[in-house]
């Protein structure tokens, strides 16, 4: 603990007052428009649905239906698809990040811009173009027929495969960038040292490069998995109705009539708990690897 003179204590107190003063507008805003809304979500989950709105009558109906098979299936489906997306983006994103990090400084910037530009196009538009690409009259089917690989158009759209493809497409940059930022700082003398000690390329990759880049893979996984879990628009545009994501169900319950806001609230709350659990386990894991490093 540092020791201060009275004069310094007075100065720090003054600065603390100005810190409170400067951060208060943000704190009020975020409390009112971010934190309180979640309390309302919890409150709404124990009320009765109305056709257009909500009835202020206590009921646990929404919780019992949220835990029924239909909704649990959709939560499981969202979890599985998000997990697959995360794994595929790691497998593809790592080599890409590796190539970028190993290029010359000038090339690195060019490659990064090339990765980011498509990302700046509105994402609904990018998803829509996959819809065109994959549709039965679309480019891919036409090309396959043209080259004689198939006779009849394949059903590519409205399948889980299409959803997975587009999710990987949309979330890939979120995986590449954190892995790149770790690899870019990577100390290559470690690799040389491990090879001097007799490890081959493959062994040094698994013993040196991979463990040191875990931090980036981990950050990327959080950035991919969480938004993937809550996605609505991707399965809505390219997925099949029979396998809905939990985000789609929540949206239907809020937006389409008859509305069921209590059920939407209960599902949202379950999603919130899942995200919180993921973040907390992730945070503990992160603390462990950064501790074992130092």
């Amino acid at each position: 603990m540092e020791r201060f003179t009275d004069n310094e204590v007075a100065k720090i107190e003054k600065e603390n007052r100005s810190s409170w003063f400067l951060t208060t507008p943000f704190l009020i805003w975020i409390t009112f428009f971010f934190l309180i809304p979640y309390l309302i979500v919890i409150f709404y989950s124990v009320l009765t649905p109305g056709v257009y709105d909500i009835k202020f009558v206590f009921s646990l109906e929404s919780w019992s239906s949220a835990f029924s098979a239909t909704y649990l299936d959709s939560i499981t489906h969202s979890l599985v698809m998000s997990l697959l997306t995360t794994i595929i983006t790691i497998l593809i994103g790592f080599p890409v990040a590796y190539v970028i990090a190993n290029a010359s400084k000038k090339r690195q910037n060019l490659y990064l811009i090339l990765i980011i530009i498509p990302f700046w196009t509105n994402f609904i538009i990018r998803i829509f173009s996959w819809k065109i690409f994959l549709s039965s009259q679309g480019l891919l089917n036409n090309l396959l027929i043209y080259f004689g690989l198939i006779d009849e158009p394949l059903t590519l759209l409205r399948t889980n495969g299409a959803v997975l493809l587009v999710m990987v497409y949309v979330y890939l940059p979120y995986m590449i960038l954190p892995i790149y930022s770790v690899l870019e700082k990577f100390n290559y003398s470690l690799l040389e040292a491990s090879m001097d000690l007799g490890a081959n390329e493959i062994k040094s990759f698994f013993k040196v490069t991979l463990p040191l880049s875990l931090e980036g893979i981990f950050a990327g996984s959080i950035l991919v998995f969480i938004p993937a879990l809550g996605t609505y628009i991707i399965p809505q545009l390219v997925g099949h109705q029979s396998s809905a994501f939990v985000g789609q169900l929540i949206t239907f319950k809020v937006k389409s009539i008859p509305r069921n806001w209590p059920l939407a609230s209960a599902l949202s709350f379950i999603l919130l708990i899942l995200v919180a659990v993921l973040l907390l386990t992730g945070y503990n894991y992160y603390k462990n690897i950064s501790r074992s490093k130092s």
Binding site: F26, F34, V41, V99, N122, F123, I124, I125, S265
Partner: protein, 264 residues
């Protein structure tokens, strides 16, 4: 040794192949949109001949123009407010003896990791609970809420590099606190503030799901309009619209570098 370097060559070659394929993968959808925007057909189908007519239809579509202006208004207002809030908060958090700093940093982090859909649902329920009519106002409030954490973090990263001995130097030369802030500190952190504003503006323009939940009947932003057009199946002009939006993005990308250089 030769064995090792061959293996390395193989890995490097393999990585380059993957990298090239990924770039192709990232650009396929964009190329398709541009090509199809000139395709003379009403539905999603094969190539039926070259046409400019969808660009003309686009120009005549009043709903679309409205949505475009709504997007710009929402983005401008929410950028200004979220950047101002972000600047104040980042300045307040510079004080390392501030006891609540850790807690506030945690709160700043929350909106960043929250899935958009949860932010959308919760804010929709807030306005329903307050019986507040949903429309332009509620969309702007929602956008400020999800942009402000980003602006704080971007401005904080610029403030981190700030040399505090400049304050003593300015004070020694007779500047008071407000003179020091406006003449010394503000110009130095200005690039960070602009970067934060640019980020907020793009996030606001791009957002669909939170807008979808926080808007009412009759107020559409561009992404919401595009989504409803896709849902209704009236996709003819969407390709042309997308092509224009892609061109604007590319244009901004190319001019932003010289502008950044001019500023820094």
């Amino acid at each position: 040794m030769t064995y090792r370097s061959k293996l390395k060559q193989f890995f490097d070659g393999f990585n380059v192949v993957i990298f090239t394929l990924i770039l192709l993968f990232l650009y396929i959808p964009i190329l398709i949109l541009i090509i199809y925007s000139f395709n003379d057909t009403k539905i999603i189908a094969g190539w039926k001949g070259f046409t400019f007519k969808y660009y003309q239809l686009l120009w005549e579509n009043e709903n679309l123009k409205n949505a475009f202006w709504n997007s710009l208004t929402v983005a401008t207002v929410s950028t200004i407010i979220s950047t101002a809030l972000g600047l104040l908060t980042a300045l307040g958090l510079e004080n390392k003896y501030f006891k609540a700093k850790k807690l506030i940093q945690g709160i700043i982090f929350l909106p960043l990791v929250m899935p958009d859909i949860l932010m959308g649902v919760s804010i929709a329920m807030l306005f329903s609970f307050l019986r507040f009519p949903m429309g332009k106002m509620t969309v702007i409030i929602a956008h400020i809420t999800f942009c402000v954490s980003y602006t704080i973090i971007v401005i904080q990263s610029r403030l981190q590099g700030f040399d505090h001995s400049l304050q003593e130097a300015a004070m020694d030369l007779g500047a008071n606190k407000s003179q020091f802030f406006w003449k010394v500190k503000f110009p130095i952190i200005l690039p960070g503030i602009l970067a934060a504003a640019l980020l907020a503006f793009t996030l606001s323009l791009d957002d669909f799901i939170i807008t979808f939940f926080s808007t009412g009947r009759g107020f559409n932003t561009l992404p919401v309009y595009v989504e409803s057009a896709i849902r209704r199946g009236s996709v003819t002009t969407i390709n042309a619209l997308s092509t224009i939006m892609i061109m604007i993005t590319l244009f901004i990308t190319f001019i932003s570098k010289p502008i950044r250089k001019m500023l820094i």
